[in-house]
Symmetry: C2
Subunit: 191 residues, 2 copies
């Protein structure tokens, strides 16, 4: 039971932050979402920083598993990136949610230090994974591009997060779909 309250708090906090960001979400909102008093939330997470850090760490670790799974199961580089991008699309379709760390990157200067570090770690890990897939695709002829894999990886991740904001604003997830397809076409060799 106590475990499910803890997890329920993280889940609800993630929902709120993925929509409104770290500053526009409060213990009061969380209290209403979970059904316990704000004081009781402080029992589980003494400060907002504690909550934020636990949340991003869980998200980051979960994502590391997703990355490993895609790499294990995918046939080629293009379908790896497609499956990666699919996670962002699913998140967006779930009530217009934004990638947690994409959202927190926009709140970065106002974030507690430990949360900042978790968000940066997420970016580093994701950029490295994308760069690795890009490099594979470059070497086996699936992809064609001139910049370094690291730089191109950054443009891919930026396109994903940027287009999530765009698609949410226009309440049209197809905008993210088209953005992903267009970007992948830019580096795909065939035609």
């Amino acid at each position: 039971m106590e475990r499910s309250t803890y997890t329920g708090l993280l889940d609800a906090a993630q929902n709120l932050i993925q929509r409104d960001g770290f500053n526009a979400f409060s213990y009061r909102h969380l209290s209403e979402a979970v059904g316990i008093r704000t004081a009781s939330i402080h029992y589980h997470f003494p400060t907002k920083e504690d909550l934020g850090e636990a949340l991003v760490r869980r998200y980051r670790e979960h994502f590391a598993g997703v990355l490993a799974e895609i790499k294990r199961e995918s046939l080629d580089a293009r379908s790896s990136l497609e499956r990666y991008a699919e996670r962002f699309l699913e998140t967006l379709k779930d009530d217009g949610k934004i990638c947690l760390c994409g959202m927190l990157a926009s709140d970065y200067p106002t974030l507690p230090r430990d949360v900042q570090n978790e968000v940066k770690a997420f970016f580093v890990e994701n950029h490295a994974w994308i760069a690795h897939v890009l490099q594979e695709g470059l070497e086996d002829g699936t992809f064609k591009f001139r910049g370094t894999s690291e730089d191109v990886a950054m443009t891919f991740f930026s396109t994903l997060t940027g287009s999530m904001f765009d698609a949410r604003m226009f309440d049209d997830s197809e905008r993210l779909v088209r953005s992903i397809r267009s970007w992948l076409d830019l580096i795909s060799h065939k035609e």
Copy 2:
């Protein structure tokens, strides 16, 4: 005199919002930045929504002038996009500021309605301008891409705003430089 207070408020508000977003900025911060009491700010901008709307409208109109100037003076499509991207780089180098509307897009669900509409208008105008330049470059052979100009324009704008957050987080404007160059290389024909 009264005019300069009004403008000074807009300037200071823009600085604060470009760093912290709409929710993490307050009349109190603004008061400290310009040196008048919060009550006096309400004389010029009765509500935060009024301030936000005036600010984004001014920004949008200023940007429309920038777009027209680039189009008037630039020789080819690639240098138009380079000059466009250069504005984002200058903004970032100015104390890690983010494009105002890129920042507000991340705050979108919590924004007052009139501010939301101004931000959307900014996106529409900028996407249309980029798409037009891309189409020109496609037709004269400067660029090569498969998606529609509109979709590719969205990936360019998303790359710019997304990479601003990235570069700010790592306190390294060169990351934006490399992102821009890599993206432009993806659609450039030569080599």
